[in-house]
């Protein structure tokens, strides 16, 4: 295992440029999650690392080797695929041992390594099964064992869990993470699921439209998103643009008269059914009054849609509320993700990278 260093990487298909100026370092034994919406270029980045998509510009170092111009078979970077990509005409043991067979390892060594890996991924006893006889979770573990068998410098995983059903996904997720800690492999895992990224990764890189928006620990990404896109993608689904000329909204921030974009999560909005009172008992950054539009049961709580003028705000609450109940929402200052807009009336959307770049992080806490 070695560290992976990506420098100014540029890649694409035909004339289309998909990845631009990617810089990323994965330390030895670290797992980084590449998180981003579908179509943002995550798979393309992994393919560029593995040598399936040509690198136009920049360099990739696996350990101290520059690999960007090597063919895929010489890179020693292996991939775990979303579709498992097992070979159906081979048994479990043949699949896992294939890389060693290619390297012309001795029969006995291959058998020993395959047995070791089968034990590690908890599939002992299945070595002579056809892979077509296995369940999805078992197949993905075979794929993982196969990719690890040759002791690659770097392991990349492309949405390894998204073809599994919810329950199996949790257990395989846990196993991959445990294995990664135990064996200490350097890895890059792609996902579009923020929870998966938070749970599995040592650090997260959020990708948007072929560019990295933010790299940081899960806590940093979750609590201190540096762009509106990251805030929105990490689950801060409520968005308001300040100033709003409406008495229902009041904001307690130092930079009050700026043009602001404000994001917050539904669970950080504290909802009370009393009408708005002047004596705020805690340090609320934003106070909003409105009335209940809809209330949906979510198991451990209710998600209440609150209508406030033109806006609909989502808030979590522990009990059901009838429609049209007047309510007040208080959002603590440190739960607000506030971004200053540079120019007036710039209507930036989460998918518009140009306007996202022109914004300065302005987090108040």
């Amino acid at each position: 295992m070695a560290h992976l260093h990506i420098k100014n990487l540029q890649a694409g298909y035909g004339k289309k440029l998909i990845l631009d100026n990617i810089n990323l370092t994965v330390e030895q034994g670290e797992m980084i999650a590449l998180l981003g919406p579908s179509g943002c270029g995550k798979t393309t980045l992994l393919n560029a690392l593995c040598g399936f998509v040509p690198v136009r510009h920049g360099e990739i170092f696996a350990g101290n080797r520059a690999v960007s111009q090597l063919p895929a078979e010489k890179r020693n970077i292996t991939m775990v695929f979303q579709s498992y990509a097992l070979w159906p005409h081979m048994t479990v043991a043949q699949n896992i041992g294939y890389g060693l067979k290619v390297q012309k390892a001795k029969r006995a060594d291959i058998d020993a390594r395959v047995a070791e890996l089968l034990r590690i991924v908890k599939l002992d006893g299945l070595e002579h099964e056809k892979v077509t006889a296995l369940s999805g979770g078992q197949r993905q573990r075979v794929a993982l064992a196969r990719a690890l068998a040759i002791r690659p410098d770097v392991l990349v995983l492309d949405e390894p869990l998204s073809n599994l059903d919810a329950k199996v996904r949790l257990s395989v997720r846990h196993e991959i993470k445990a294995l990664q800690k135990q064996l200490g492999f350097t890895s890059l895992i792609v996902t579009h699921d923020q929870e998966e990224a938070l749970v599995m990764a040592d650090r997260i890189a959020v990708l948007n439209q072929g560019k990295i928006e933010q790299i940081g620990t899960p806590e940093e990404i979750y609590h201190h998103p540096s762009t509106p896109f990251v805030a929105d993608f990490m689950g801060a689904e409520n968005h308001i643009e300040w100033p709003i000329h409406d008495d229902a909204f009041s904001l307690n921030l130092s930079n009050h008269d700026d043009q602001l974009d404000i994001y917050f999560r539904s669970e950080s909005a504290v909802l009370s059914a009393q009408p708005k009172s002047e004596s705020t008992d805690f340090n609320a950054g934003l106070i909003i009054s409105g009335h209940v539009e809809q209330s949906v049961f979510f198991g451990n709580n209710y998600q209440i849609s609150v209508r406030c003028g033109k806006h609909t705000i989502q808030a979590d609450h522990n009990q059901n509320l009838p429609e049209h109940t007047p309510v007040t929402l208080r959002i603590p200052i440190d739960a607000l993700h506030v971004f200053a807009k540079k120019e007036k009336h710039s209507d930036h959307q989460k998918t518009n990278i140009v306007s996202a770049k022109s914004m300065r992080m302005n987090h108040v806490c």
């Binding site: 078979e73 890179r75 991939m79 990509a85 890389g99 290619v102 390297q103 794929a143 196969r146 990719a147």
Partner: protein, 282 residues
């Protein structure tokens, strides 16, 4: 859930398929059965093996020749079409594989008789190919050999069937999940290894279908042995035509037909058995 049909409903359904069944019966089953019947009966309707005996007596050499020609052709066909399909699927040179992907299809749209005519002018002693060699100084007119004869027949069969079997095989290769090939590549496997260890084992059934269908086609072509063959030995189709045209001898012609039918059926049986064995092993 499948609905069970009452006998009454079944009758109605039978009426629906009757026209199609009738067509198959009149235009396919009846002539086939009649041909088989004619091969093993006298004019009076009595059972006999005389026609078959005569067919073997006169034409056993041609039967053997036919089998050998077909087997050699099909072996060359398999190698070439796998090579072309593999080049299309695995080649890192995109434009090459695109051109190849277009070119190999052309013979699909050329009838056998035109192919035979074309090959005749191409392969003859003073044909296009030899003329080109002579013009380029590679051969003198003295050294040229005619490829008409058994080698010409094989060349023509392969040339014509190559498109069809490559189409099937490259289709099967393209249907494989691309990530299977990628997985092998990043484990260090070369393209050769991938072809033989990952791709071919998975397309054996398609390869079998392509080869069996090609064999049946080759067994039934008349124009190629007539136009490119040298007369003796020749292929069974030419013998059948000869029996009918020269002697009006339908019995022996049908007996030869029965033999060629048995050869095809034998191959099909062999193929099916292989296929079932593999299914059983899974």
């Amino acid at each position: 859930m499948r609905q069970t049909t009452s006998p009454n409903q079944l009758k109605n359904h039978l009426w629906l398929i009757a026209p199609a069944a009738l067509m198959v019966g009149i235009f396919f089953l009846y002539p086939l059965c009649f041909s088989l019947y004619s091969a093993i009966t006298l004019d009076s309707g009595e059972f006999t093996l005389a026609h078959l005996n005569k067919a073997f007596e006169l034409y056993s050499k041609d039967i053997l020749f036919t089998i050998i020609i077909v087997l050699i052709s099909v072996a060359i066909l398999a190698v070439l079409s796998i090579t072309i399909a593999a080049l299309i699927t695995l080649s890192p040179f995109r434009s090459l594989s695109k051109t190849l992907g277009f070119l190999y299809r052309l013979p699909l749209f050329i009838p056998f008789i035109v192919t035979a005519q074309m090959m005749r002018t191409f392969l003859a002693k003073n044909g296009l190919m030899n003329n080109a060699f002579v013009a380029s100084g590679l051969l003198t007119p003295m050294d040229t050999v005619s490829f008409l004869g058994w080698s010409g027949i094989i060349i023509t069969f392969v040339w014509k069937q190559l498109a069809f079997s490559t189409l099937l095989i490259s289709g099967a290769m393209a249907a494989l999940d691309d990530s299977q090939i990628r997985a092998a590549r990043n484990l260090g496997a070369s393209r050769f290894r991938i072809l033989f260890q990952i791709i071919l084992p998975q397309i054996v059934p398609t390869l079998g279908v392509a080869m069996v269908l090609s064999i049946v086609t080759m067994m039934s072509v008349l124009s190629v042995p007539l136009m490119i063959g040298t007369g003796s030995p020749t292929m069974m189709t030419a013998d059948m035509a000869f029996r009918i045209n020269s002697y009006g001898d339908y019995h022996v012609a049908n007996a030869l037909g029965l033999v060629s039918y048995c050869i095809c059926a034998g191959l099909a049986w062999f193929y099916l058995r292989q296929n079932l064995k593999e299914k059983g092993a899974n």
